[in-house]
C-alpha cells in the first residue's frame, strides 16, 4: 500500500492557483523529490499534505487515513521538517525534542529514548543542553530535522532542509536522509538544488506554476531531457537577429535567452561551440563566460518551460 496518495488536489489563494490539480503517490522506503522554481507550489503542496491547508478539491491520504476527515490518525504517521526551523529558541535542544515528542504521543521511557536517538541521528548529543538561541544556522536545521523524526514517522516531509547550510551540515543531512530511507521511512524532499535531487531521490516530480509538468524516476527524466548538454554563453547583451542565426546552426536543438545569457541545448557542446562562438563574435557581442553542463534535470526544466529552476 502507498504511504501517501495525493489525488487531483487544487488550492487557490484568492485568484492565484497555487496548486492546480496535483497527483502523486509515495511508497515505503522511497525518497520522492519535489522539484520546482520559487513559487512553484511546493510548500503549498506540503502544507496540504500535512493538513495545515485544506484542498478546495481532491483527496489526500496518509497510510489510508484522510488528512481532512481522519486528521489525528493521519498525522500520527506524519513527520514534518518545515522550510524554516520551527523551534523554541529559549529552550534547550533536549527540551525542544521532549516537547515535540510529547505532542506526537510519546511518554516516559519511550520519550527519553526517542530524544536520545534523535539527538544521535543529527549529531547534536554533545550540545543537547544548550539553548537553541545559541545554535548556528546549520545546527538549528539539524535540530529541526530531529524534531520531525522523533516519533519515527512513516512519512517524512522535508521542505528544502539544506538551504543556507554549511557543507559539513549539508552532508550530514543528506546522509541522515539516506539512513532514514534504509529504515523504511518514505520521504518527500523538496529542493531547488538539482544535483541534490538527482543524487538522493528515487523518483522526482517537477512542478511549475502549481502543475506537475514531469514525473518519473531520475533516469526516466534524464532520458526525457534527451541527453542534451547545456552550453551556457554569457554575453554583454543578447540580440534577436543573432538568435535566429544561432538557431540555424547545425547541432543546436534549442536556444533560450535569459537576460544576457544564451542557454543552448545540444547533443554535443564541444562540437557546436566553435561555430557558435564565431557567430556571436561576428555579431559584435562580447563573450564573458562559457559553461558546459552535462544533461540534468535543470536542462529538462529549461526544455519544458524555457526558464531556469534557480533564480540567476
Amino acid at each position: 500500500m502507498n504511504v501517501l496518495d495525493v489525488v487531483n488536489v487544487k488550492k487557490a489563494f484568492g485568484s492565484r492557483q497555487a496548486v492546480d490539480g496535483v497527483s502523486l503517490s509515495i511508497s515505503e522506503g522511497e525518497i520522492f523529490g519535489l522539484l520546482g522554481p520559487n513559487g512553484a507550489g511546493k510548500t503549498t503542496t506540503l502544507s496540504l499534505i500535512s493538513g495545515l491547508l485544506r484542498p478546495h478539491t481532491g483527496t489526500i491520504t496518509i497510510g489510508g487515513w484522510n488528512v481532512v476527515t481522519q486528521a489525528t490518525k493521519a498525522k500520527a504517521l506524519l513527520g514534518v521538517v518545515p522550510q524554516e526551523p520551527a523551534l523554541y529558541s529559549q529552550l534547550s535542544a533536549e527540551a525542544n525534542l521532549r516537547f515535540w515528542g510529547t505532542m506526537n504521543g510519546l511518554q516516559t521511557a519511550d520519550l527519553t529514548n526517542a530524544v536520545k536517538h534523535a539527538l544521535t541521528v543529527v549529531g547534536l548529543t554533545d550540545r543537547a543542553q544548550e539553548r537553541v538561541a545559541k545554535y548556528s544556522g546549520g545546527m538549528k536545521r539539524r535540530l529541526n530535522i530531529a524534531a520531525g523524526i522523533i516519533h519515527n514517522p512513516k512519512l517524512l516531509i522535508m521542505d528544502e532542509p539544506t538551504v543556507g547550510v554549511d557543507p559539513q551540515s549539508r552532508n550530514h543531512i543528506l546522509q541522515t536522509v539516506k539512513n532514514l530511507r534504509e529504515q523504511g521511512t518514505a520521504i518527500i524532499y523538496t529542493s531547488h538544488y538539482v544535483e541534490e535531487v538527482e543524487d538522493l531521490c528515487d523518483r522526482v516530480t517537477v512542478m511549475d506554476q502549481g502543475k506537475v509538468i514531469s514525473a518519473g524516476t531520475v533516469s526516466q527524466l534524464l532520458n526525457k531531457a534527451g541527453q542534451y548538454q547545456e552550453l551556457v554563453i554569457t554575453v554583454n547583451g543578447t540580440k534577436a537577429t543573432s538568435l535566429m542565426q544561432l538557431t540555424a546552426l547545425p547541432g543546436i536543438k534549442e536556444i533560450f535567452t535569459i537576460n544576457n545569457v544564451y542557454k543552448i541545448l545540444t547533443s554535443n557542446a564541444e562540437q557546436v561551440l566553435p561555430l557558435t562562438y564565431e557567430t556571436i563574435l561576428a555579431e559584435g557581442m562580447q563573450v564573458s563566460a562559457i559553461h558546459i553542463h552535462k544533461p540534468s534535470l535543470e536542462s529538462l526544466f529549461l526544455k519544458l518551460t524555457g526558464r531556469t529552476l534557480r533564480d540567476q
Binding site: T72, K75, L78, V80, A86, L87, Y88, L91, M103, N104
Partner: protein, 240 residues
C-alpha cells in the same frame, strides 16, 4: 491532557526567559502598588488605586501574552503543533490554560504582596475576591485569544493592548472616581471589563458586598469571555 500541559509549560518557559516580560508583568505593577501604599488609607482611595493597578496590568499581561500565539505562528512552532497528532481542541485548551495561569499567578502575587508587604487594610471578602478576579481573568483571556485570531503582528497586538488598557482603565473610572461623568465616560465605564472588575473588587473589600449582588455583572463578564473565546478559537482555526 499531557499534551495540554506540555503546551502550557513550554510557552511559560519561553515567555519567562524574556526579562522584559517579568519587568512588565511583575516589576512595574509591584512598584506601583508599593507607591500606592503611601496614599491616605481612608476608605476606598487606596483600594481603588492598588486594585486599579492590578486590573490594568492583568489586562496588559493577557493581551501581550496572547501575542505570543502570533509569535509562534510567525516562527512556525504553531504550524508544527498543528501538524502533530494532537487534536485542535487540546491545542486551544493548552493555550487557554497558559494565558489564564499567567494572569492568575500575576494577580495572586500582586494581591499577596499588597496585603503582606505593603500593608493593605483588607481582612474580609476573600472568596468574593477570588471569584471576581477569576471571572475577570477569564473574560480578558477570551479577549486575548480573540485578538490573537484577529491580528497579524506583535506590533498590532501592542497597539491594541495600549488602546484597550488605556481607554478601558483610565477613562473607565478605575483609578479615581470621576465626578459627574459625561456621556462618553459613562459608556466606557459601562462596557469596560476593567471598570466592572475594579468596582466590584473595591465594593467587596470596602463595603463587604456579597456575591449575590454582583451576579449580573459577573454573568455579563462570563458571557463576554465565552463569546470572545469562541470567536477567537474559530477565527484561529480558519486562519490555520
Amino acid at each position: 491532557m499531557r499534551k495540554c500541559f506540555a503546551i502550557v509549560s513550554v510557552g511559560l518557559r519561553q515567555m519567562l526567559a524574556d526579562p522584559m516580560y517579568l519587568v512588565f508583568t511583575l516589576g512595574l505593577p509591584l512598584m506601583m502598588t508599593w507607591a500606592m501604599s503611601f496614599l491616605p488609607k481612608e476608605a476606598g482611595i487606596y483600594e481603588m488605586a492598588s486594585l486599579g493597578v492590578l486590573v490594568m496590568f492583568v489586562a496588559l499581561n493577557l493581551i501581550t501574552s496572547a501575542g505570543s500565539i502570533l509569535e509562534e505562528r510567525q516562527n512556525g512552532t504553531w504550524q508544527r503543533i498543528l501538524t502533530s497528532a494532537t487534536s485542535y481542541w487540546a491545542i486551544m485548551a493548552g493555550y487557554f490554560i497558559r494565558l489564564f495561569l499567567v494572569a492568575a499567578t500575576q494577580a495572586a502575587i500582586l494581591l499577596l504582596s499588597g496585603k503582606f508587604l505593603f500593608g493593605a487594610p483588607w481582612n474580609h471578602g476573600y472568596l468574593e475576591l477570588v471569584v471576581v478576579l477569576a471571572i475577570y481573568i477569564f473574560a480578558m483571556t477570551g479577549l486575548g485569544l480573540f485578538l490573537a485570531g484577529l491580528l497579524k503582528t506583535q506590533g498590532q497586538v501592542q497597539a491594541v493592548a495600549m488602546a484597550i488598557v488605556m481607554i478601558g482603565t483610565m477613562l473607565g473610572d478605575v483609578f479615581f472616581p470621576i465626578e459627574n461623568p459625561s456621556g462618553v465616560i459613562k459608556i466606557i465605564a459601562a462596557i469596560s471589563p476593567q471598570s466592572w472588575a475594579a468596582h466590584a473588587l473595591r465594593d467587596i473589600l470596602t463595603l463587604g458586598v456579597s456575591l449575590s449582588s454582583l451576579v449580573v455583572p459577573l454573568l455579563w463578564m462570563t458571557g463576554l469571555g465565552m463569546l470572545l473565546i469562541i470567536a477567537g478559537v474559530l477565527r484561529i482555526k480558519i486562519e490555520a
